[in-house]
Amino acid sequence: MPERKKFTLTDSDPNVSEDSAFGTGWRDTWVFQCPDHMQLLIQAGDEFSLKAYDSADVEYVAPDARVEVLVRSAGGEVYERIYGPDNYICSKEFQDHKLTAKLNLDHPVLVKPRDKIVFRTSDSTGMDAASVANSYCRLVTSKII
């Protein structure tokens, strides 16, 4: 019988790649590719947080800053949205559990080996390598062992 264990995914995970090229609008800022030995089970109530800075080193501001999280198949041809696309302000909290964004899922989402979790951000100023390095995100979920 498989067991579930708490798993905290951050942008510094070794299986996360980041898009450090300059660009405005929607971008796949961080992409986690699930390794071969792992499966994640994303459920309603899992917590998501993201802090983002633009290329002027200014924190994302409303109204044009938005965030979304997708689960994509390895080839990218199939996707399911697990968060957003919501205003940035909704997911910027990392500490207070009453304020952190919770996933509003209708059903659990299984992330299989080689599947990807894609953290997408959008604003009009854009991000570059330095601002991506200053930005960070976290998804508190479960892995199946």
């Binding site: 409303a62 109204p63 044009d64 938005r66 979304e68 399911e80 949205r81 697990i82 968060y83 957003g84 696309p85 919501d86 205003n87 302000i89 909704c90 909290e93 009453k98 304020l99 952190t100 964004a101 996933l103 509003n104 899922l105 209708d106 059903h107 959008s122």
Partner: protein, 146 residues
């Protein structure tokens, strides 16, 4: 059919934005459901707002807000949130988007489906100055079906 979380914001490409006129209930953000998709509204869904007026100040606490569903012609209207003061969404004019204890849930008893090409419209009536589409923003946390 896949039901997944979906948030309608003012920046969605299917949203039409318009400033409103002072003292008149007008459409601020109008979302038209694209083809091949529908929106599933539930009583647990949340609407968050931050409204500014066209004089670069926050909207009045007494600004009246409505959210309604409209059919494809715009003629048949169903209230989803009916005439709620902006003060319900904001403290000192700053909209609440995070605190679970303060978020506003939809004023419906059952699930409502908004079909393709139908509308969800956020309306506002700010007493002395119209609402500014460029500095106001919203999040309607709901689900979509595709």
């Amino acid at each position: 059919m896949l039901i997944e979380p979906f948030v309608i914001t003012q920046e969605d490409s299917d949203v039409t934005q318009a400033d409103t006129t002072a003292g008149v209930m007008g459409d601020l953000f109008s979302y038209r459901v694209p083809k091949g998709k529908s929106i599933i509204l539930r009583p647990s869904d949340v609407l968050c707002l931050d409204l500014d007026n066209t004089a670069a100040a926050v909207a009045a606490n007494t600004c009246v807000v409505k959210l309604e569903k409209r059919d494809q012609t715009g003629a048949e209207k169903t209230p989803i949130i009916d005439k709620l003061q902006y003060a319900s969404f904001a403290a000192s004019g700053v909209g609440e988007f995070q605190d679970e204890d303060k978020l506003i849930h939809l004023d419906i008893n059952n699930e409502i489906e908004v079909g393709e090409q139908e509308y969800l419209v956020l309306m506002g009536n700010n007493p002395t100055t119209g609402l500014d589409k460029d500095t106001s923003f919203m999040s309607l946390r709901t689900h979509s079906k595709r």
